[in-house]
Subunit: 204 residues, 2 copies
């Protein structure tokens, strides 16, 4: 079939495991999940449809159920994945151990404009707030470790960590609502500067 040939043409030549092998299956599962983890952050949990998702990774809808039990099972995994990726980014930008570095990265225009690879907490707070217990406890875990990571940069000061995380999540989410770029930038900058000052204040 033409369709099929076109698909196989996409696979790197010389790849020993093609379309139907077990390793290829694992790889496809991975691609579905990665795509879903982005889609979920870009357009929300409800936006993910089985048909479109499979199409976007070059497969047909029927194959989906060989990888996941149901759409909602995928959604739970995708949320988890999205949160992990976002957390990994945050950890990476805090490598120096300084809050100011983390804040500069988190409240950057780049992060604001890269919803699909950014922090899933900010991308999905209000959605998850009304989701089932599963989703909420998945996100809760990541919120807690976000707070812990920030607290570590603040000599373990939990109060300031919770405030900083609230302000970071709030500011990023709000900057994505505000359409006017100048105003959106201002929100990021004002909160960024404030939190950076808060950093220095704690470690004089």
């Amino acid at each position: 079939m033409q369709e099929n040939d076109a698909y196989h043409a996409d696979v790197k030549p010389g790849d020993s495991t093609m379309g139907h092998s077990q390793t290829e299956k694992a790889r496809n599962r991975e691609r579905i999940l990665a795509e879903a983890s982005q889609q979920v952050r870009r357009d929300g949990l409800e936006s993910v449809g089985v048909g479109a998702l499979m199409k976007s990774v070059g497969l047909t809808h029927g194959g989906f159920y060989g990888h996941f039990e149901s759409r909602s099972a995928l959604l739970a995994e995708a949320l988890q994945r999205a949160l992990q990726e976002g957390e990994a980014n945050a950890q990476a930008s805090a490598a120096s151990g300084r809050l100011s570095d983390m804040v500069r990265s988190y409240l950057s225009r780049t992060h604001r404009d890269a919803r699909d690879s950014g922090c899933a907490v900010a991308a999905l707070v209000s959605d998850v707030a009304r989701a089932d217990d599963d989703a909420r406890s998945i996100m809760t875990r990541h919120v807690e470790s976000f707070i812990a990571a920030v607290a570590k940069t603040l000599d373990g000061d939990e109060e300031r960590a919770v405030v900083a995380v609230s302000a970071m999540v709030g500011a990023l989410a709000l900057s994505r609502v505000v359409a006017d770029p100048a105003r959106s930038n201002a929100i990021l900058k004002l909160v960024r500067d404030h939190l950076i000052a808060l950093d220095s204040a704690g470690a004089p």
Copy 2:
């Protein structure tokens, strides 16, 4: 018809304008909108369905289009309405002109637990961030007036106002994600205390 009689039985006896009058139509439109404004905050914009919405105000789905042009036209109005109600509450709690009063009300457990009558910004930030320009500019307007209201309590200090609003929205949204009540309460309390201190610091 029984159905019809049952419905009319719900109307207050002595009411001169019954089921099909013009004033009743206006009242029904109002009830649809009020219900939608709550539903939108409780379960998200996408959760609102024409059939269920009409049923919840005691009407049938067909009548909907006598009140609104389409589901999405309703959604825009419902969002607006939800934001207005939330703002009205915030203004009311800031009657004293002190930030601490506003913060105490905004970051209260009552507010956290009353999603459907509370601040629509916190209830819908991440949803609106990925919605169309219409929805975003509707919410932007309310975010700006929220910031302005807070700034007024801070001698016009815009930076601190933006930080405070970000922290308030972030903390409220996060407190709704966290399932453990003690932990959720702690988030509210820590940010509340911090912002109240910020208030006193500004007006010594």
